[in-house]
């Protein structure tokens, strides 16, 4: 029966995607992208991927909409020109689709336990997690411990993307501010005039942060972890910025603190890895961090998840502030 639900959601997904591409109004495309994200998160949940669905929820529900809207405010809301060579592109894409569809016939049927993906590595992770790491959430165990290198790389990609956005958008920062000093005061108040969003927003911010911390530290036992928590906490501060204005958010959490968060998270991750080397193990081998290997694993996972959470929060907020600061000039 859940398979029927899944089919229905997937069909809606395709309709949404077609609508996203067809509309010439970019604002509408962003709204439809929000629906797309909700649908794909529901699909992930039906496919047993609770952690992935939580990540999609944390990122897709607030942050990506806010970022796209910020970019639209700085560029334009409409596609001005019609698609050139439309039929040629369509022909190319349709033939490519047919090739990919042809390839799917070699795929093992949906949910087949005998499929090649399930034969190698994954059973080993499921078998070893209880004895070697002893956390209930196998996804967290694989993410933070078995494949710690991989996650280290991902954290640095996120970090680099944050630095890239800073380089691109904070150029001429001071210069532009001098150019139009009056523009700042009028558009920076956010929704401070709207009493209802302001009260509700202020009320919810602490709860979202609290939930973010729960997701961060409960990630060993249920769906969650640093990536989801970072996105949730960033969403809380973005909400605060929406209802109270940029200025006050930067007072509460100054830009330099955000940079420090970003850097310290990545550093913490790397240092935990190095600590393993100095204590006589391998890089990112947490077993040597404590007397008991399993306790060492727990400590290591806690620390690197904290590092991930710090970096993701820092980077997402830095990106948000970079776009929002441009908006005012």
């Amino acid at each position: 029966m859940t398979l029927v639900f899944s089919f229905f959601l997937l069909t809606l997904l395709v309709i949404t995607a077609v609508a996203v591409v067809r509309t010439r109004n970019l604002f509408v495309a962003v709204m439809l992208l929000g629906i797309f994200s909700l649908l794909i998160a529901a699909n992930f949940l039906l496919l047993d991927a609770a952690d992935v669905a939580l990540t999609e929820a944390a990122v897709g529900a607030g942050i990506s909409t806010v970022l796209f809207l910020g970019a639209l405010a700085l560029t334009s809301e409409r596609e001005r020109t019609a698609t050139p060579h439309r039929w040629l592109s369509l022909a190319v894409v349709v033939s490519a689709t047919l090739v990919v569809l042809y390839a799917t016939f070699d795929k093992p049927s949906f949910g087949d336990p005998e499929a090649p993906v399930h034969q190698h590595v994954a059973p080993w992770y499921l078998e070893k997690t209880p004895e070697a790491i002893d956390v209930p959430n196998v996804v967290t165990a694989v993410l933070a411990s078995f494949r710690g290198y991989d996650t280290l790389g991902e954290v640095f990609v996120v970090f680099t993307a944050g630095i890239g956005v800073l380089f691109l958008l904070s150029a001429q920062h001071g210069h532009a501010a001098q150019r139009r000093p009056d523009a700042k005061d009028e558009s920076d108040i956010g929704l401070r005039d709207d009493l209802i969003p302001r009260v509700v927003g202020r009320l919810l911010v602490p709860f979202i942060v609290l939930f973010g911390l729960y997701v961060q530290f409960h990630g060993d036992y249920g769906p969650g972890g640093g990536f989801q928590a970072g996105a949730l906490i960033a969403a809380a501060f973005i909400l605060f910025a929406l209802v109270e204005g940029e200025e006050r958010t930067l007072e509460a959490l100054p830009f330099n603190t955000l940079l420090a968060l970003m850097v310290s998270g990545a550093l913490l991750y790397g240092l935990v890895g190095l600590a393993g080397v100095f204590l006589g193990g391998n890089f990112l081998d947490y077993s040597v961090l404590a007397e008991d290997p399993v306790a060492g694993q727990h400590l290591g996972i806690l620390l690197i998840e904290a590092g991930v959470g710090l970096t993701v929060t820092g980077v997402l907020l830095v990106i948000f502030h970079a776009f929002a600061a441009r908006d005012r000039f």
Partner: protein
């Protein structure tokens, strides 16, 4: 019984999607997104119990907490656009 609710929610999602695709104004689309959000919360709570995994409720909780940020961002977007247009008009008048 969960199936009845899940089915009703899915059909409503479909209807909301039709409204989002048809428009006609951008605000109808925002309305659909918002409706979609609450429907997803309901669907996820029901799926959590259908699958016998109450820990999936964290997801529904996440959506319940942060889904309205998108709509607030839309309001902020239109307000600042209106302010920008008013300012541009004032500058044009001055020039």
């Amino acid at each position: 019984m969960y199936y009845v609710v899940a089915f009703a929610t899915l059909v409503t999602m479909g209807l909301a999607l039709i409204r989002a695709v048809l428009g006609p104004t951008v605000y109808d689309r925002v309305l659909s997104v918002n409706m979609f959000g609450t429907k997803t919360v309901l669907l996820m709570s029901v799926i959590a119990f259908l699958a016998g995994r109450p820990d999936f409720l964290d997801l529904a909780l996440a959506y319940a907490l942060i889904n309205f940020i998108g709509v607030l961002a839309v309001l902020e977007f239109f307000k600042s656009r209106a302010a920008r247009r008013a300012q541009e008009a004032a500058e044009d008048d001055a020039a």
